[in-house]
C-alpha cells in the first residue's frame, strides 16, 4: 500500500546571522493512513521542525514531502494554506485558542473554513467538553483547553492530526487523558495522528515510533501490537 506520508531526503536549515543550524538533516520516513505515530527525542532534536514541515507551516531547504502522492514542498503560499485548511489539524503545546471566542465558537470557527466539517457540538461532546460550550478559554483548566484544541483540530476532519508536545504544559494525569483521547481518535475513527514528545514512555502505545537526535533519525520502530495509553507505565 502506498504510504500516506513520505519524507524524502528532507533537510531544513535555519540561518541566524552567520550561524547555520541544520534542524533536520536528510530525513526519510513513511507513515501509513490511520497510524498512531510518536516522534521521540530530546529537546533540540528537530522533532518540531519535522512536524512544522509536515503541517505546511514551514518550508524545506531541500528534499520533498509527499502527502497522498502530492509534493507539498513545491506548493506556493496559497496552495500551502489550502493544504493546511483541508488536510491538517494542529494541536499545540499552549493550545492557542482564540481568547475572545467561546469553546463552541472556537471549534465552529474551523468548521466555517472547510467544506464538510464535522458537527462541532458532537465533537465537543466526544472530547468530554459538552458541558462547557459557552465558556471562554480563560475559564478552563489546561487539560480542558487542550481538549477544545483537539476538538478544533478534529472538527475539519483532517487527513493528518499533528500534535506538538500536547501534554507539555499539563500534569501527568491530565496528560494521560489527553493522550488516550488522541489514541482513541486514531483507533476508533481512523485519524492519522502524529505526536511529538520527549517522553519515551509513550513509545509502547504507538503503532510507529520515530527516534530523533540532532536533526537525524536514529531509529524507526514499527510496533505490531501497541498497548493502550492507560496501560503504559508512566
Amino acid at each position: 500500500m502506498e504510504p500516506l506520508i513520505r519524507f524524502q531526503n528532507v533537510t531544513k536549515e535555519y540561518v541566524t546571522g552567520e550561524y547555520r543550524l541544520r534542524a533536520a538533516d536528510n530525513i526519510n520516513f513513511e507513515i501509513h493512513k490511520g497510524e498512531f505515530t510518536v516522534i521521540l527525542g530530546p529537546s533540540g532534536a528537530g522533532k518540531s521542525t519535522v512536524l512544522n514541515l509536515l503541517g505546511g507551516m514551514d518550508r524545506v531547504t531541500s528534499g520533498s514531502i509527499l502527502i497522498n502522492g502530492h509534493d507539498i514542498s513545491e506548493y506556493d503560499e496559497t496552495r500551502l494554506t489550502e493544504y493546511r485548511r483541508d488536510h491538517v489539524g494542529f494541536v499545540f503545546q499552549f493550545y492557542n485558542l482564540i481568547p475572545t471566542l467561546t469553546v463552541y465558537e472556537n471549534v465552529a470557527l474551523t468548521g466555517e473554513l472547510v467544506k464538510n466539517p464535522l458537527d462541532a457540538k458532537e465533537i465537543l461532546a466526544s472530547v468530554g467538553m459538552g458541558q462547557h460550550m459557552s465558556k471562554f478559554p480563560a475559564q478552563l483548566s489546561g487539560g480542558e483547553q487542550q481538549r477544545v484544541s483537539i476538538a478544533r483540530a478534529i472538527c475539519k476532519n483532517p487527513t493528518l492530526l499533528l500534535c506538538d508536545e500536547p501534554t507539555g504544559a499539563l500534569d501527568s494525569e491530565t496528560g494521560v487523558v489527553i493522550l488516550s483521547l488522541l489514541q482513541r481518535m486514531s483507533r476508533q475513527q481512523g485519524h492519522t495522528v502524529i505526536i511529538v514528545t520527549h517522553n519515551s514512555a509513550l513509545a509502547p502505545a504507538a503503532d510507529r515510533v520515530i527516534w530523533m537526535r540532532s536533526g537525524k533519525i536514529v531509529d524507526e520502530v514499527r510496533n505490531p501490537s501497541p498497548v493502550g495509553v492507560e496501560e503504559v507505565n508512566w
Partner: protein, 761 residues
C-alpha cells in the same frame, strides 16, 4: 542602567513612542504658537495704544466748546483731552472711495503713526493719508489728491503716509464686515488747511484717562456735566476698532486653548496603551527586578519616567517650534484684516506651563498603565500572564448574534476586550473628521454667508448711497430714473433693563429689494406695527417677541419705547428694521440714506445728491478676500487632521497587530488565507472609523459654530456645510483610515507561524 533600558525599550517600540512624541510636540506647539501669536498681538496693540496715546472715551456731538473741554478736563481721573472735526470726504477720482477726514486741535492724544514721508505737523498745509488706502489707490508721498467735502472740492498734497491705532480695524461702520482699503480710508489734516473754506465745528471730544481711573465713574460724571451736549459715547468696548481687536485676541485665545486638548488626549491614550502592552510584555523583567530587590517605588518610577521624558522632550521641542512656525502663518491672515505697525510673537510663562501639562499627561498615563503589573508578587510576575478574558455580551442572548457569523462575533468581542484601544481609535478618527470638517466647512460657511446675504436677503444689484444733504427733488429724479427702494440706515442705541447695545436702524419704504427670514429661515414680511429685531441683537439684549425695549437715534436725546413684533435673521448689521409708516407714526421723518435698485446703477455716481454707488460684486469681493486669507488656516487644519488620523491609526494598528500576533498566527495555521484575516481586521477598522466619523460630524459642526460665533457681535453666521464637502470629508477620513489599515495588514502575509506560536516567553 535603567535609563539605558528605557532608551532601548523606546527604540524597540519606536513607532509608538514617536507617535506619542509627535502628539505632545503638536499639542504644545499649537498651544505655544497660538499663545505667542495673540500675546504678540496684544503686546504690540498695547504698546501701540500707549505710544500713540489712544483715548479711552470718544464723545460725539454737534460742537464741543472750549468750556466743555475745561469741564471735562476737571473730572478726576481724566489725564488729557482733545477735540477734533470728523467728516467723510469723497474722492473725486475712480470709484469715489470714502475718506474719513480728521482735523485735529492738537497732536497730543490719538496720534497717527508715521509710515512714510514726514510725521504729522500741524503747522503745515497738506494731508496725511492712510497708508493702506494710499497703496490701494497707488498714491505716494508728494502726490496731490482731490476730494469733495461738504460740497466743496479740496486739493491737497500728501505729506505723509500714516497708520492709526483707532484704525487697526479699518471699517466705515459695523455693516462692513471686512476692511476694504479700496473703498474706505482715513486722513489727517491740520486745521489751517481747511478753515478758510469751511466751518469746522469740533464734533468729537477725545478723553484719555489716568491709568487706574474708574471709567464708570468718569462716564457718570460726564453724563451729568454734559447732559444733552453729546449724542454718542464710545468706549473701548463699543469703538469698532478696539472692540474688534479685543474680540480677535479673545477668539485666538479660545482657539489656542481648544485645539491642543485633542492632541493631549491622544498623547495620553497612546501612552496608556503602549505602556500597558510594554509592561505586560515585561512582566518577567519586572518580576526579576523585584526579585533582585528593586523597590516597587523604584520600578514604578522607572516606568513613569518613560512618559515624563517623552512628554518633556516633545513639550520642549513644541515650545521651540510652535512660536517659530505658527505665528507667522496666522499673522499672514491677520494682516489682511488688522493694521498693526509690527507683528511679532511673544512667549509667555503660560506656554511653559503647558509643557508641564504634556509631561503630566504622559507621566500619569504611564503610571496608571504599570501600576497593575506591579501588584503581583515576583513569583507571579515571572509566570506568563493568563490569557485575556473574553466576556459574553448582552447581544449574545439575542437570536441575531448567531446570524452574525464568526468575523462579526470576533470583532465585537475584540472591541469590547480592548476598550481603551478602541476608544482611542474612535477618538482619533473623530478628531481627524472634526478638523477636516472644520477646515472645509468654514469655507462653505463663509460662502454660504455670501449667498444668504447677497442672494436670499439682499435682492438689489446696486446700492446708491445718498448724501446727507440731498434735496427732495434730487431724490425724485433718482426715483424717476431707477425706480428703486429708498431706505434709511442710522446708528441707534438700544436699552433693555440694564443692557445697552449699539446697533442699526433700517427704515424701509415699501418694496422688494430687502427680504427677511425668521430664525428658522422661512421668509417673512416686515410687521405693519411694531418693529422687527434681528435675531442676534434680540439674543444680546435677551428680548423675545412681544417684549418692549428702549432705543434712540445716535445724536438724539429722545428715547422711544417700542414693541418687538417679529424677529429676523441678518448676517451683518444687527439692530431693528421697521416700515416707513411705523417710523413716521413716531413723528419722525424718514431721511433716505440709500436707494436700492435691481437694474444697473453704476452711472448714478454722476447724479446730484449721490455720495457713492456700490455694486453687489464689490461687496462680495470683501468676502472672497477673507476666504483667500483663510487658505493657510485651512491648510494647517487639514495637515493636523491627517497627522492626527494617520499617527493614531498607524500606532493602534501596530499595537493591536503585535497584541494579536499569536491569534493571527493560529488562524494562519488553521488554514485562513491572509486575505480572509485582512478582511477580518479591516472590518473592525471600518466599524471604528465609521463610529469616529459619526461622532466627528456633530463635533465638526460645533467647532465651526464656535469659531464663527467668536468672530464678532455684529455677524450672525450659521455653520453650513454643503453635502459635497461633507462627502469629501467622510471620504477623506475613510481613505486615510483604509490606507493606514492596508499598510498594517500587509504584515499579515509575513507572519512567521513557527516563531509566533513558540512557547510563551
Amino acid at each position: 542602567m535603567l535609563f539605558k533600558k528605557m532608551l532601548r525599550d523606546m527604540r524597540q517600540n519606536l513607532s509608538q513612542f514617536i507617535a506619542i512624541f509627535l502628539m505632545s510636540v503638536l499639542g504644545v506647539a499649537v498651544f505655544a504658537g497660538i499663545n505667542a501669536e495673540w500675546n504678540g498681538m496684544k503686546y504690540e496693540r498695547d504698546r501701540y495704544y500707549e505710544e500713540n496715546r489712544l483715548p479711552d472715551l470718544w464723545l460725539m456731538g454737534e460742537d464741543f466748546s472750549e468750556a466743555d473741554l475745561t469741564k471735562v478736563f476737571e473730572i478726576s481721573g481724566v489725564e488729557a483731552t482733545s477735540r477734533r472735526f470728523i467728516a467723510d470726504a469723497v474722492m473725486t477720482s475712480g470709484k469715489k472711495p470714502v475718506l474719513r477726514i480728521h482735523i485735529v486741535e492738537n497732536n497730543e492724544i490719538s496720534k497717527p503713526h508715521p509710515v512714510a514721508g514726514q510725521p504729522l505737523d500741524l503747522s503745515k498745509d497738506g494731508i496725511w493719508l492712510d497708508c493702506f488706502f494710499a497703496e490701494a489707490h497707488g498714491i505716494g508721498v508728494g502726490d496731490v489728491i482731490q476730494a469733495e467735502i461738504g460740497g466743496i472740492t479740496v486739493e491737497k498734497k500728501v505729506l505723509g503716509l500714516i497708520m492709526h491705532p483707532e484704525y487697526i480695524y479699518c471699517a466705515r461702520d459695523e455693516s462692513q464686515l471686512f476692511p476694504q482699503p479700496e473703498n474706505f480710508g482715513f486722513a489727517f489734516m491740520p486745521r489751517k488747511a481747511l478753515h478758510h473754506a469751511l466751518p469746522l465745528p469740533y464734533n468729537q471730544l477725545l478723553i484719555r484717562l489716568d491709568s487706574g481711573a474708574d471709567e464708570k465713574k468718569v462716564r457718570t460724571e460726564l453724563e451729568n456735566l454734559l447732559e444733552g451736549d453729546y449724542s454718542l459715547l464710545l468706549t473701548h468696548e463699543t469703538h469698532i476698532s478696539t472692540s474688534m481687536m479685543d474680540m480677535e485676541i479673545r477668539q485666538n485665545k479660545a482657539m489656542g486653548n481648544v485645539f491642543p486638548i485633542v492632541f493631549f488626549i491622544i498623547a495620553a491614550l497612546a501612552m496608556l496603551t503602549t505602556m500597558v502592552r510594554m509592561t505586560g510584555n515585561q512582566r518577567i523583567q519586572i518580576g526579576t527586578l523585584k526579585a533582585m530587590g528593586f523597590s516597587r517605588r523604584k520600578i514604578l518610577f522607572h516606568y513613569v519616567s518613560y512618559g515624563v521624558w517623552i512628554g518633556l522632550a516633545g513639550g520642549l521641542l513644541g515650545l521651540l517650534i510652535g512660536p517659530l512656525i505658527v505665528p507667522p502663518i496666522l499673522f499672514e491672515m491677520q494682516r489682511t484684516i488688522y493694521y498693526l505697525p509690527a507683528w511679532y510673537a511673544v512667549l509667555t510663562p503660560e506656554a511653559f506651563t503647558v509643557v508641564t501639562i504634556a509631561v503630566l499627561c504622559c507621566g500619569a498615563s504611564s503610571y496608571f498603565a504599570c501600576r497593575r503589573e506591579l501588584k503581583d508578587v515576583p513569583a507571579a510576575c515571572m509566570r506568563p500572564k493568563p490569557p485575556g478574558t473574553g466576556r459574553h455580551t448582552r447581544l449574545e442572548k439575542r437570536a441575531v448574534w448567531y446570524k452574525l457569523g464568526f468575523s462579526a462575533q470576533w470583532n465585537i468581542r475584540d472591541i469590547l476586550r480592548s476598550r481603551v484601544r478602541s476608544a482611542m481609535a474612535v477618538t482619533g478618527v473623530a478628531g481627524c473628521m472634526t478638523l477636516l470638517l472644520c477646515a472645509l466647512g468654514i469655507q462653505d460657511t463663509i460662502n454660504g454667508l455670501g449667498t444668504w446675504m447677497y442672494q436670499d436677503l439682499h435682492i438689489y444689484e446696486y446700492k446708491i448711497n445718498l448724501k446727507e444733504d440731498i434735496q427732495s427733488d434730487e431724490i425724485y429724479a433718482l426715483e424717476q430714473r431707477y425706480s428703486g427702494q429708498l431706505i434709511q440706515e442710522s446708528a441707534v442705541e438700544f436699552r433693555k433693563d440694564a443692557k445697552e447695545k449699539a446697533g442699526f436702524l433700517t427704515v424701509a419704504e415699501p418694496g422688494d429689494q430687502l427680504r427677511f427670514q425668521d430664525p428658522d429661515q422661512n421668509p417673512i414680511d416686515l410687521p405693519d406695527s411694531g418693529v422687527a429685531m434681528s435675531y442676534k441683537m434680540a439674543e444680546l439684549l435677551d428680548i423675545k417677541v412681544g417684549e418692549e425695549f428702549k432705543w434712540r437715534m445716535s445724536g438724539d436725546t429722545k428715547w422711544y419705547e417700542s414693541r418687538v413684533t417679529a424677529i429676523y435673521r441678518s448676517p451683518a448689521g444687527q439692530g431693528i428694521t421697521m416700515t416707513k409708516d411705523t417710523f413716521e407714526a413716531l413723528s419722525e421723518t424718514m431721511e433716505p440714506s440709500a436707494m436700492l435698485i435691481s437694474g444697473n446703477g453704476s452711472d448714478a455716481v454722476e447724479m446730484p445728491g449721490v455720495k457713492d454707488v456700490k455694486s453687489k460684486e464689490e461687496m462680495r469681493a470683501g468676502l472672497e478676500k477673507t476666504l483667500d486669507s483663510m487658505q493657510m488656516l485651512v491648510g494647517i487644519l487639514i495637515l493636523a487632521a491627517v497627522i492626527l488620523g494617520s499617527v493614531v491609526l498607524y500606532n493602534l494598528g501596530a499595537l493591536s497587530f503585535t497584541e494579536r500576533i499569536r491569534e493571527l498566527a493560529t488562524m494562519r495555521v488553521l488554514g485562513f488565507f491572509p486575505k480572509q484575516i485582512r478582511s477580518l481586521l479591516s472590518k473592525q477598522n471600518i466599524w471604528l472609523t465609521v463610529a469616529g466619523i459619526l461622532i466627528g460630524i456633530p463635533c465638526g459642526y460645533a467647532l465651526i459654530t464656535y469659531m464663527v460665533s467668536t468672530l464678532s457681535d455684529s455677524i450672525d453666521m450659521m455653520a453650513k456645510v454643503g453635502s459635497g464637502t461633507l462627502i469629501l470629508c467622510i471620504t477623506g477620513t475613510l481613505v486615510l483610515s483604509m490606507s493606514v489599515s492596508l499598510m498594517m495588514s500587509r504584515r499579515v502575509g509575513s507572519i512567521d507561524m513557527v516563531s509566533s506560536l513558540k512557547a510563551v516567553e
